[in-house]
């Protein structure tokens, strides 16, 4: 197990970062830090994908000088997935930030726990 983890250090780092991001998003009471956690989590997945998609000594999948041999280039699909993932991540971040802004205007705090106490004090109708 140990040597494998060291050999695949990109993947190991990606998993550790995923864990950090996940716990931050889950447990951190500060909403902005939650969004930062979300971005760490997403980036960890992109790092994992990029590391998996890269083959040592091969080129980016853009045909240059007419070389069409399959062995010259890496597989473009993981990079495509990373791009799609980034687009999704950006939109999710934008939505969460705008929601947080609205909440801050309403309750003047970024702390989730404080917001929830204020909401429950409001009572419901």
């Amino acid at each position: 197990m140990g040597p494998n983890l060291l050999n695949n250090y990109f993947e190991t780092a990606a998993m550790i970062l995923f864990g950090i991001g996940f716990t931050t998003l889950f447990l951190q009471p500060n909403l902005i830090k939650k969004v930062i956690g979300l971005n760490i989590m997403d980036s960890a997945i992109y790092l994992f994908l990029a590391a998996k998609g890269y083959i040592d000594g091969r080129l980016a999948p853009i045909v240059v000088n007419g070389v069409t041999d399959m062995e010259t280039y890496i597989n473009p699909i993981p990079s495509g997935l990373v791009l799609t993932g980034i687009v999704v991540g950006v939109s999710v971040t934008a939505v969460s930030l705008s929601l947080i802004q609205k909440l801050y205007k309403e309750y003047h705090t970024l702390d989730m726990d404080e917001i929830l106490t204020k909401v429950s004090k409001e009572g419901d109708h």
């Binding site: 995923f18 991001g21 996940f22 998003l25 889950f26 909403l31 939650k34 979300l38 989590m41 997403d42 997945i45 994992f48 994908l49 998996k52 699909i77 993981p78 997935l81 799609t84 993932g85 999704v88 939109s91 999710v92 939505v95 969460s96 929601l99 947080i100 609205k102 909440l103 309403e106 309750y107 989730m112 917001i115 929830l116 204020k118 909401v119 409001e122 419901d124 109708h125």
Partner: protein
């Protein structure tokens, strides 16, 4: 390939295009266009269903005629067509009966945005039902999350926004896990199309080396989907999100959004991993324990709740427990029972939410039981719907909910190890369901200490919507055998 095979793609594209078009209209026209689009989808999905039931088969539709593994695909049989038809119907009727509340609750210049989100939601739900590609599924899961969040916060007050952010965070945790698991699956097999992944997994399993990573993948994926569909320990966001949103949003969220993820999960279990492999895993036992606990704890929470919409929301937690118990039996009968429960719940819960919305608007927008006394006299059609919905949820014979519980308990016989737990939990949960639904019924029909029982003016759209819900529920209760036949047929071509 028959012409109807194009319909799933048409529906997804039309709803996507509809979301662009509604953004340019005013509220009223947006409602009209949206109703037209969803009715069109309903007709198309229904004709597909009729075709697939008369010619039972499974159709793989290659987009742009690119064969696997290069192209993207939709793949469907009778089961998918039936679920999509139900989704379109419930969406349409929820929107019609919730129309008055939408126009009251949403700021008048933003009503069209609400319908943009509804169109996106419909599109993503249909895509989740029909797609055969895991990464496409991920993209539509995220679209679904974002549009569902926007639908929850449509009222734009502090309460709904804080409920939305809790929902959003839970959903994002879930989709993070889901993305991680499909990336790991891609890493293991080199494919994203479900059938190709399955072919590779069978080979890998034959060598017997990859059981451990596969278990982790299935675990991550199940937990991710469970978070998004409010299975028991992850259900805390649900009562706030569903309790505070506008009527149509609550109906759509509990009736459809939660179900889209479960359909995807069932698809992954049956089509990607394979029932034989999944049923060997311990992951199903964990889901089973959560499901059984959800059945009981959701009902107990509902008993203690005094806010009518939050009570119905907690009842959804219990119903999610039923569905997950069906899935975790790990047999074909269990999956059929789960999907049938999804359909029953999709018909009943939105009706209950719409009825609750009707009671509230007839009682000065109050949602607590002490303010809802006699509300069924002020809004009689909501009263009738609430009676039918409650009886169905309790599981009285001749109502749809009875069929769901009946098939779940027969399915439990196929898994002897879990049978007694299922039957016991069903019994306890049924009694608990009866406690809070009968309490609610007694409140809305009580005349004690209520002076004002005069009938309120009810809008035409609300009456039409509720009548459709009532007819659909009674029909489902009478003809559930036929639906289960289609589902069993669909499982063969899943």
């Amino acid at each position: 390939m028959p012409f109807v095979a194009n319909f799933p793609l048409f529906c997804i594209v039309i709803t996507l295009a509809g979301s662009v078009a509604t953004s340019m209209l005013n509220g009223k026209n947006a409602f009209r266009l949206n109703t037209f689009i969803i009715s069109l989808c309903l007709v198309m999905n229904f004709s597909l269903l009729v075709y697939l039931v008369t010619n039972p088969q499974q159709i793989t539709y290659m987009m742009g005629h690119f064969p696997a593994p290069w192209g993207n695909e939709t793949r469907f049989g009778p089961l998918e067509a039936l679920v999509a038809t139900v989704f379109c119907f419930v969406m349409l009727v929820s929107l019609i009966s919730g129309k008055t509340d939408i126009f009251e609750d949403v700021k008048s210049d933003r009503v069209n945005i609400f319908y943009v989100m509804i169109n996106l939601l419909m599109s993503s739900l249909l895509a989740l039902v029909y797609t055969n590609d895991l990464f496409t599924a991920y993209v539509f899961v995220e679209i679904n999350t974002l549009s569902a969040c926007s639908v929850v916060m449509a009222k734009e007050n502090g309460k709904t926004i804080s409920a939305t952010i809790r929902y959003l965070i839970m959903s994002l945790l879930g989709s993070g896990l889901f993305l991680m698991s499909i990336i790991l699956l891609y890493d293991l097999t080199g494919h994203l199309l479900m059938v190709n992944i399955h072919e590779n997994l069978v080979q890998l399993m034959a060598s017997g080396d990859y059981m451990f990573p596969l278990t982790i993948i299935v675990g991550l994926l199940s937990v991710g989907m469970a978070m998004k569909s409010a299975l028991f320990p992850f259900h805390t966001w649900l009562s706030h999100a569903h309790g505070s949103a506008t009527t149509a949003s609550s109906s759509i969220l509990s009736g459809l959004v939660l179900k889209g993820y479960i359909i995807l999960l069932i698809k992954v279990y049956c089509r990607v991993i394979g029932i034989e492999i999944v049923s060997q895993m311990k992951v199903l036992n964990i889901l089973f324990v959560f499901g059984v606990m959800g059945m009981i704890i959701g009902s107990i929470d509902a008993i203690g709740e005094t806010h009518i919409k939050r009570m119905i929301a907690y009842s959804s937690v219990a119903q999610m427990g039923y569905i997950y118990v069906g899935i975790s039996l790990g047999t074909t009968a269990g999956f059929v029972a789960a999907v049938f429960h999804i359909i029953v719940h999709a018909f009943t819960k939105p009706m209950l939410f719409s009825a609750a919305g009707g009671f509230a608007s007839a009682s000065g927008h109050k949602y607590h039981f002490d303010q809802l006394k006699g509300a069924a006299y002020r809004n009689p059609i909501a009263g009738v719907a609430f009676v039918i919905g409650s009886l169905s949820m309790i599981g009285i014979p001749f109502f749809a909910g009875f069929g769901a519980k009946y098939y779940l308990s027969t399915a439990a016989m196929t898994n002897p190890g879990k049978m007694w737990f299922v039957l016991l939990a069903l019994a306890i949960s049924t009694v608990l369901n009866a406690v809070y639904y009968i309490k609610a019924l007694a409140t809305v029909y009580s005349r004690e200490g209520v002076e004002d029982t005069a009938r309120r003016k009810i809008s035409k759209s609300y009456t039409i919507g509720m009548s459709l819900f009532i007819v659909a529920n009674v029909a489902l209760g009478l003809f559930y055998q036929r639906i289960v036949d289609i589902l069993s047929l669909g499982m063969k071509f899943f």
